[in-house]
Symmetry: C2
Subunit: 220 residues, 2 copies
DNA sequence: CCAAAAGTGTTTTCCGTACACCCATGC
DNA sequence: GCATGGGTGTACGGAAAACACTTTTGG
């Protein structure tokens, strides 16, 4: 834009997606073993270059389909990092996203060349490209987002009991809540409604089943 | 990253900076008339390509120095847009930033080739590259940020009266506050301290002068 | 003396938190 | 009958909101 001719840089731009789920009361992210250099063989977040004619959101959504087999889940742009791959001489920009998926909806594509696996966010393996920083940042954003939005819908099945919902909150925020206060808060938000059904899940009283009134992002 | 060979896209990546200030009880942004195609002659946000060896933050900070003559102000990455310049065949990614400057610190560089001017955020001229969307997004983020951080320090001079500070909050949030409640809230945050001075500003009682204890970003 | 902004406390409302017991079920 | 999670109401405390008058100055 300026008229002078200082040497400029055309960094390679790619997307990277932090796909969260909650399994076994732990927040987990999807990692993939890299099949190409650099960092071949290391675990990394799903990501890659944009296809021809593709926008950033589209590329991130495509990764979700390719790697987790899900679409129409909560997906939000996170941050653009310029320092994840110091090996790129022309510089690199990684536009990161975070996504929330219900573990029961996920279908990991069977692969010959590389593998995909869920890792608890606090027990990541060695990862390429400082991807642990990206996960950390995404987790922080997710924790904030839980406070003032309904995005948790994207981590839940269609129908669920409030106990299950509470466990998801507790897993991500890494703290426990009083059952009565939690229910009061959630119900007062008016984001869930009773289905009328109950479901027996074990050797105890069956739970009333709820669903989200709107399965789309809402800010309180 | 994948082994297949679908055609990929290497979008041009640039930075764009929304520089906010408050003048005359209005939030304003710095715009520049474009001296080059495309969109020559239209107003646009300061921005451009990265210089060789430069990171995103560095490029944004450089724009602040070049266009507003300020450094060490609050600067935060905002969002990366992929649809601001539909004319670019290879695609374009604009990494946007927002900055907060005290109007009295700004020294707009005198230019032959193009002009810079402050515009109230609600009275933007016709702008290039959908920059109005970027401004709108930045303003929203700024409004949120005011609620839970001290970033307003970057919009204020070193020393100021609480009435002046309240006006800045009111200008940006476009609402008025009760004077007593405002003062209570600010003082209880413990982010400002009295200098001990007072300053007479007009035909009324002089105001006690305060300063920010820490002129760096803090989250409440 | 008048206009203009500075400065000051109390009351009420609302929300978040703390807290303990009974219920329905499977085994 | 016992272990397990489901389900319920009340009381307290702190923060935010509502609200009106006096002070100091310049002109």
């Amino acid at each position: 834009m300026s008229a002078d001719a200082r040497p400029t840089r055309a960094p390679l731009t790619c997307v990277v997606v932090v796909i969260f789920t909650v399994r076994d009361n732990h927040p987990e992210v999807l990692l993939i073993t890299r099949s190409a250099d650099p960092e071949r063989g290391l675990w990394a977040l799903p990501g890659g270059l944009l296809l021809d004619g593709e926008g950033l959101d589209m590329a991130a959504a495509r990764k979700l389909v390719e790697e987790a087999g899900v679409r129409d889940v909560y997906l939000e742009q996170l941050y653009s990092f310029d320092d994840l791959d110091p090996s790129a001489p022309e510089g690199s920009v990684a536009v990161s996203y975070f996504a929330l998926v219900d573990a029961s909806m996920v279908r990991l594509a069977p692969r010959d060349e590389w593998q995909a696996a869920w890792y608890p966010t606090n027990e990541l393996p060695e990862v390429a490209f400082a991807n642990d920083r990206v996960v950390e940042y995404a987790l922080e954003r997710l924790r904030n987002k839980l406070q003032y939005s309904n995005v948790v819908y994207s981590l839940m099945p269609e129908e669920f009991g409030l106990g299950r919902l509470q466990k998801v909150y507790e897993s991500i925020l890494d703290q426990t809540f009083d059952k009565r206060n939690f229910r009061k808060r959630i119900l007062s938000l008016g984001i869930v409604e009773e289905t009328g059904d109950v479901r027996a899940e074990g050797a105890h009283r069956p739970a009333r089943i709820y669903r989200f009134i709107r399965r789309e992002p809402t800010t309180f």
